[in-house]
């Protein structure tokens, strides 16, 4: 059964039809990329699926269960995690606290118990901190274990977001332009990291502009153009699709 099923998704903002009748499905364990020219609606699609705003029409299902229109914090409980195109880091916290935030749902969050410093809470905190440290090492941020988030460079923050998302132990991880602003070396490093995550069994849905990264890493690709599905299929097929080439390079006169 597909892990993620999207059917007939549409969303308009005022008069602009940002997403029009988009349907696709993602099998568990693969890397699924969404590409398209600027303005094609890729981030809007992400936002619709991850609950930032509800679709006008259409259905989203995770492991068969309808999650259409659920708020982000509800989707988190269904095993959905994501990173953001425009970094959403909590600059008022340390790096490790940002990662620990990802593990929020695994801990006791009772207000009274928190104020009274229950021992069970302290143990949970300690365990979460340990796993956050491990995650930071996993994504290559061992150098920043003691850092404030506000003191970290852009590249490190992109990885921090990934660590935070992984802390939620998601079934499906949405990465919104994880290599944005990276030079080829950094892009290759992110490529390796994403592979590592995919190999560990997490299903990944990816929005990316860097074609080399996308072709290297994706099992299947969805191409969007002007909010509509232009093509979908295995990576090799999509790259040869004439419509896709035309959309990116412009049609011959």
């Amino acid at each position: 059964m597909a892990l993620l099923e999207v059917s007939g998704l549409s969303k308009a903002f005022g008069g602009v039809l940002a997403i029009q009748n988009v349907s696709f499905s993602v099998e568990p364990g693969i890397v699924y990329s969404v590409i398209g020219p600027n303005g094609a609606g890729k981030t809007t699609l992400f936002n619709l699926i991850t609950g930032v705003y509800p679709p006008d029409v259409g259905l989203v299902r995770i492991a068969g269960e309808s999650v259409t229109g659920l708020a982000p914090h509800q989707l988190a409980r269904k095993g959905v995690a994501r990173t953001f195109q425009n970094l959403q880091i909590c600059a008022n916290m340390t790096a490790i606290e940002n990662v620990m935030l990802g593990g929020h749902l695994f801990l006791d969050r009772n207000l009274i118990k928190s104020m009274l410093h229950f021992p069970s809470l302290r143990r949970g905190e300690f365990a979460l901190r340990e796993s956050a440290i491990e995650l930071m090492r996993y994504v290559g941020l061992a150098a920043y274990l003691e850092s404030e988030a506000s003191a970290m460079p852009y590249g490190a923050l992109k990885r921090l977001e990934i660590a935070r998302a992984l802390a939620a132990r998601p079934r499906i991880l949405f990465l919104d332009e994880p290599a944005a602003g990276f030079n080829p070396v950094e892009t290759a490093e992110i490529d390796d990291l994403i592979r590592k995550i995919a190999d560990s069994g997490v299903t990944i849905v990816l929005v990316e502009h860097d074609m080399k990264l996308v072709m290297n890493i994706s099992d299947r690709i969805l191409v969007l153009n002007y909010g509509e599905k232009l093509a979908e299929g295995a990576a090799r097929e999509v790259r040869r699709n004439p419509d896709v080439i035309a959309a990116y390079l412009g049609k011959a006169a």
């Binding site: 988190a76 959403q88 935070r164």
Partner: protein, 309 residues
């Protein structure tokens, strides 16, 4: 990890040592008022500093507690402790009811809504003279806790010191807990914390209700301590005083709340004969503080000394 216990220990020692240094009841009174403000400000700082919201009407909750401890025993023969609890629950319920629609607002609209809340409470207290004694205020029956009745500034001092110590401890625990982290995260990035599973609306609600609860309790205790209250305890200026203490002492800083409360409680005492000057001084402090030290005294100095918080 940092040790919160050292700070707490230090505070405890100061509180124990202080009575030896204070010469007479007048100074105990000032210390008591500092403690009262500190506890209210701790709660308010959770809302403003940690959760990043605005509350310009917090004195309203304080006033609810104050008048509950006056009206219920006076007109309805309730025991004082029950009155304190009733006031706190009432304030909490009001906060609970009004928070969901209010926190959908942002920025100036949120400020306006909280301000309006405080003003309306203040007007009600002023007008329902049959119960509240109107603008001239009313007397408050003393507190009796299981047969014990604190009498005099010194006895009240021990009560307030204990409550303060407990509040600081509870606050620090809260901030370092998953709940507290979610709170700080929603200030940092609401959407990121939502994706991590934080129901932002519920957290804002919870912290608002909690701070209303504590403001009310302190209002009740203050009323019983002073023995007399007027509707001024709930007015806009009092709300601004509280916000000033948060802002000057340090937003999102537990010890900042204490510093802010101590400094700005002492100030009116120093200016007690210069009424208009007190207003000017508060205004000037607010402006200068926000312009030159937007993070507040304690965080600014802590950063300079290279320590966190």
């Amino acid at each position: 990890m940092k040790s919160p216990h050292s700070g707490l220990l230090f505070l405890g020692l100061i509180l124990l040592a202080l009575p030896l240094l204070l010469p007479n009841a007048f100074y105990f009174d000032i210390a008591n008022r500092m403690a009262i403000n500190a506890i209210v400000v701790l709660g308010l700082n959770l809302v403003i500093g940690f959760a990043g919201q605005i509350s310009l009407g917090h004195a309203g909750f304080f006033g609810i507690g104050a008048y509950a401890s006056a009206i219920l025993p006076t007109h309805f023969s309730w025991p004082p402790v029950a009155a304190i609890l009733a006031g706190a629950i009432g304030a909490a319920l009001l906060a609970y009811a009004i928070a969901p629609p209010i926190f959908r607002l942002r920025g100036h609209y949120l400020a306006m809504a909280t301000l309006g809340l405080g003003v309306v409470i203040s007007i009600v207290l002023k007008n329902e003279a049959v119960y509240t004694g109107g603008p001239d205020g009313m007397a408050v029956p003393p507190l009796s806790l299981f047969g014990l009745e604190p009498v005099g500034e010194k006895q009240w001092y021990w009560l307030f010191a204990a409550v303060l110590l407990f509040s600081v401890w509870a606050c620090q625990n809260l901030i370092d807990s998953p709940f507290g982290r979610a709170l700080r995260a929603l200030h940092g990035s609401e959407i990121a914390s939502q994706m991590a599973g934080v129901d932002v609306a519920r957290y804002k609600l919870a912290i608002f209700v909690l701070s209303a609860f504590f403001a009310s309790i302190m209002g009740s205790l203050t009323a019983q301590y002073v023995g007399f209250i007027t509707p001024n305890v709930a007015d806009f200026f009092h709300s601004i005083e509280l916000v000033t203490m948060v802002v000057v002492g340090g937003m999102a800083s537990v010890y900042g709340s204490l510093v802010g409360a101590v400094l700005l409680t002492a100030l009116p005492q120093a200016l007690v004969t210069f009424e208009g000057w007190e207003t000017v001084a508060f205004g000037a402090i607010l402006m200068l503080s926000m312009i030159f030290m937007p993070r507040g005294l304690v965080p600014t100095f802590a950063a300079k000394l290279g320590r966190r918080r």
